[in-house]
Symmetry: C2
Subunit: 107 residues, 2 copies
């Protein structure tokens, strides 16, 4: 049991407030210019298929799919299956929640 020596301290048990976690989580989703572009695009066009992003953005399809997943995981968008395509829309509830948190934060 000599592990005690030189062991890294275990992850700090900080308990963040809901506000701290929500803002950080949404901010993380917004922390890439491509994802900003995707959201702006969705905001203008109501809804989009993945293919429309791949036409618009010069990145590999798999990369764009990954960014869409990040936005989906954060809750900011949702995908509806319309075989063989998937239609992405902004999740208005989460969008409004994010807006509210940021607005309060910058009060």
């Amino acid at each position: 049991m000599n592990y005690l020596i030189h062991m890294q301290r275990t992850a700090a048990p900080i308990d963040y407030s809901i506000q701290e976690e929500k803002i950080a989580r949404y901010a993380k989703a917004l922390a890439h210019p491509i994802r900003i572009r995707i959201l702006k695009f969705l905001d203008q066009q109501a809804c989009c298929f993945t293919g429309e992003f791949t036409e618009e953005i010069p990145l590999a399809q798999s990369t764009i799919s990954q960014h869409l997943k990040e936005l989906k995981d954060a809750g900011l968008i949702q995908g509806n299956v319309m075989p063989p395509r998937i239609k992405y829309c902004i999740n208005k509830e989460a969008w409004m929640e994010a807006k509210q948190y940021f607005t309060n934060f910058f009060s």
Copy 2:
């Protein structure tokens, strides 16, 4: 010169708008709950020395210093040397700019 085969495509030459880059940059700075806490703390207390954060937040001093650097690099805070300490304040200009960008974005 067989490197051509199987070479990774060079970084996509996407040119983002100022808005896309600004929002993504500020969002990146906000993308960690500790940094949210630091900013809230500064917003309440006007200004702080590094030491006050290390008392408040159960993380190594070097880690907190790193988070302060991230906020400083994003422009959201500024540090004034008051030997042997450093007094951090919110950079109100950048703060207002960030607020404006987020507000417009969530229009």
